[in-house]
């Protein structure tokens, strides 16, 4: 296996030689540019780094994957569009999927030809995910799916959906769930985008009305989807935290650079409050750095999803919010006139990132749910 520092050097050189794409603000423009960028990354061998070669990956370690991500973020390059496929559901298909699913679906997932979404949450099943009602009925050759999902990111653009469905109404709630892969062009699917706090139309409502799904699209066994779902959620908590750390560090370094160019490097113009806010963010990032070393150890040991992922995610939530709160707080009254750039801070970006940081404690399981998991599954406290 290629040595890590050599690999890092190759990635760094590759980014240095690239014309990085300029990402438009409007969501459709952004989608097209980032999809083309995914294709470029794929063709250059930078996607599926830790996936097996038979599905189009490179068969390297999860740490190679992290190193590449770090170089991407530090090069100020955008992430490819298909992150939900690449980082969340794709990993579960790689792990639990059938030969057919892996062979047919994963190469197109990597190249960005297929964009994936994650159909877990429902109007009546958010934190209590296992109470989901969207159902799949056995109709011989196919399953027939009916119901509704919500907050499904990128559903409007997606070709495929990893869908949690109820396949046994009579079983205890965790034991009647199956994990299906659904072609979003199937008749009977309606997608309605929702506007987020940031103004983006990123997540959607998705309606399923008697949608036929071939049985070969079932991941793992029937009624055994909960374990697969937990694998997916584990990626959304543990390894996501390590990836996000690199992004937060770079964002913070950019904020520091903006203040430095305003202050001219000296201390005289810098109010104590500005220094204290930056110091607070730096401390928070250092906490996350110490924490993610343990996550990396688990990834190296291929430990699989554990309740420890919830500890990472809970800490990430606090750190991410502390970082952006500290920076955006320095805009003070200028947040209403972002073009004036107080202390050199590019206000529009920080306002957007700060809004997005309010979502981190909701998606992937809320902070309250992570605390429940820590208390009950790590610490062994009794259920109330």
């Amino acid at each position: 296996m290629i040595e890590l520092e050599t690999f890092r050097g190759e990635a760094r050189k590759w980014f240095a030689d690239q014309n990085l794409p300029v990402v438009p603000l409007d969501i459709d423009g952004r989608f097209e540019v980032l999809r083309a960028w995914q294709r470029t990354l794929f063709e250059s061998g930078w996607l599926g780094i830790s996936w097996s070669t038979e599905v189009g990956g490179r068969g390297l370690s999860p740490v190679h994957q992290l190193v590449f991500n770090e170089e991407l973020v530090r090069a100020r390059a955008p992430q490819p569009i298909g992150l939900i496929g690449l980082e969340v559901v794709g990993r579960s298909i790689e792990h639990y999927g059938s030969d057919w699913q892996r062979r047919e679906l994963l190469p197109r997932l990597l190249s960005g030809e297929d964009i994936w979404c994650q159909g877990f949450s429902e109007p009546e099943a958010g934190s209590d995910l296992a109470s989901l009602r969207t159902s799949a009925r056995d109709a011989g050759e196919d399953f027939v799916v009916s119901g509704q999902k919500v907050w499904t990111s990128w559903a409007k653009q997606a070709q495929w959906c990893a869908l949690l469905v109820r396949t046994d109404r009579d079983a205890p709630k965790h034991k009647g769930i199956s994990y299906l892969l659904v072609d979003m062009s199937s008749p009977g699917i309606t997608v309605r985008p929702l506007v987020q706090m940031t103004g983006d139309e990123e997540f959607c409502e998705v309606f399923f009305d008697e949608v036929s799904v071939p049985k070969r699209n079932l991941v793992g066994e029937i009624n055994a989807g909960w374990a697969v779902a937990n694998h997916t959620l584990g990626s959304e908590r543990g390894s996501y935290t390590v990836r996000r750390r690199a992004e937060l560090e770079v964002a913070f370094d950019d904020a520091v650079a903006q203040v430095q160019s305003w202050s001219g490097g000296g201390r005289e113009r810098v109010p104590d409050r500005v220094a204290a806010a930056l110091g607070k963010a730096q401390i928070a990032l250092q906490v996350l750095e110490g924490q993610t070393r343990k996550t990396i150890d688990r990834l190296v040991a291929a430990a699989g999803p554990t309740a420890e992922d919830s500890l990472d995610k809970l800490l990430l939530n606090g750190v991410e919010q502390a970082v952006f709160e500290s920076v955006v707080d320095l805009l003070g009254p200028f947040r209403t006139a972002p073009n004036l750039a107080p202390f050199g801070l590019e206000a529009e970006r920080w306002i957007h990132d700060h809004y997005f940081s309010r979502a981190v404690s909701i998606y992937g399981g809320t902070s309250q749910i992570q605390r429940n998991i820590i208390a009950q599954r790590i610490l062994g406290l009794p259920r109330g």
Binding site: L4, E5, R8, V63, L66, V67, E70, V242, E249, D253, V256, V259, Q260, S263, G265, R267, V270, D272, V274, A275, A276, A277, L278, G279, K280, Q282, I283, Q286, V287, E289, G290, Q291, T292, R293, K294, I296, V300, E308, L311, L314, L315, Q368, Q370, R371, N372, I374, A375, Q376, I378, L379, G380, L381, P382, R383, G384
Partner: protein, 375 residues
């Protein structure tokens, strides 16, 4: 339950404390001066103070970073006294001190004579109220308040002239006047140390730029190891709480089954684990780091330790209810000592500012994950 990395260096120390540091002895210190000369003599004989002394001077020659798990253990047992001064100061100074200074330092390593640190040791908020010391032609003038174990110390390390001189002085010398400040911390007692033309021991250990660097090193290691001690305080307070919420019953069930309690305990756990992980990461990185690298890392660690250990202690008291507020239970000793250590060499509020200015001056270098895996 997942445990922090098993460390080796702290094991003999834990064994010794289980044997020799009983509740009577601890209470004697906590209600007395915060230390005990016999105890210091005994732990010196155990070799505690020679861990980081260079081998050429008869020590084990360990990097100070390796003492991180030792200080976490000391925090768990709430061992009071000038242990951090006696571990750090002789190790950092022995090679630089004058011949007289060196033999005085090595004597403290041998028999545990308390070493006091007369240095600016608060964040900038209180700096002006602390005092300052000048050193001219080998004579000291001025004063410094809140010197830990100022009265008990048998050797003083003095950071003078705005950190441009570091020297040693024997507190029994003429011109050294020590006045107790009163005792607001069970784990230490402090004093104001006044100098009226007192002679230093031999020549200064460092002057000019090398003194500034040495003062920063002293500050950095104090912050780092006190941060580790606070991690131990948090660990003990958390462990007590986890046990208690499973035993104590109200409304016909353990209080640990109530979600309001579970969430606070989960947060205490997250604070404790992340602080421990931060200590382990810093210990790993600072083993052979440059003294400059120590400064910012240690400041971040101390800031987080100051904030999180305090919060864990407060939540521990809250989760125990009325009994948590009693003198009889040890929770308050941990809390009170944590509050005192929190401010020594900067609490999170002063450090945030200091770190912010350091970051703006270009001090923050980012690690890469490969360095972390390799480490």
């Amino acid at each position: 339950m997942a445990e922090p990395d098993d460390q080796k260096l702290d094991l003999p120390i834990r064994e010794y404390l289980d044997r020799a540091f009983d509740e009577r002895r601890r209470l004697g210190m906590l209600t007395g001066t915060g230390t005990d000369r016999d105890f210091l003599r005994a732990v010196a004989a155990q070799g505690w103070f020679s861990l980081a002394i260079p081998e050429s001077y008869g020590g084990l020659g360990l990097p100070l970073a390796d003492l991180a798990p030792v200080f976490a253990a000391l925090g768990e047992y709430l061992v009071p006294g000038p242990i951090v001064e006696n571990c750090v100061l002789p190790s950092l100074l022995v090679e630089r001190a004058s011949a007289e200074g060196r033999s005085a330092l090595l004597a403290t390593v041998e028999d545990g004579a308390p070493v006091g640190l007369v240095a600016p040791h608060t964040g900038s908020t209180w700096a002006d109220q602390l005092g300052s010391v000048r050193c001219t032609d080998g004579k000291l003038d001025g004063e410094m308040s809140l010197v830990r174990f100022g009265e008990q110390a048998e050797l003083l390390v003095v950071v003078a002239n705005d950190e441009r001189t570091v020297c040693l002085v024997d507190p029994r010398t003429d011109g050294v006047i020590v006045v107790a400040d009163g005792k607001g911390d069970p784990g230490s007692s402090t004093a104001t140390v006044r100098f009226r033309g007192a002679s230093i021991l031999g020549g200064p250990a460092a002057e000019g730029r090398s003194a500034v660097a040495l003062a920063a090193e002293i500050r950095g290691w104090m912050r780092m190891l006190v941060g580790c001690y606070l991690a131990g305080v948090a660990r003990w307070s958390f462990d007590q709480t986890l046990t208690y919420v499973q035993q104590r019953q109200q409304f016909g069930r353990p209080i640990g089954s109530f979600q309001a309690v579970q969430h606070i305990v989960a947060d205490m756990y997250a604070s404790t684990r992340s602080l421990e992980n931060m200590c382990a990461a810093a210990a790993e990185d600072l083993r052979d780091a440059s003294p400059q690298a120590v400064d910012l890392r240690a400041a971040c660690l101390k800031a987080y330790a100051a904030e999180s250990a305090r919060r864990v202690c407060e939540n521990a008291i809250q989760m125990h209810g009325g009994i948590g507020y009693t003198f009889e239970l040890s929770l308050h000793w941990y809390y009170e000592h944590a509050l005192a250590l929190r401010s020594w060499f900067g609490d999170e509020r002063d450090l945030e500012r200091e770190i912010g200015f350091a970051v703006l001056a270009g001090g923050a270098a980012r690690n890469t994950t490969t360095q972390e895996v390799a480490g």
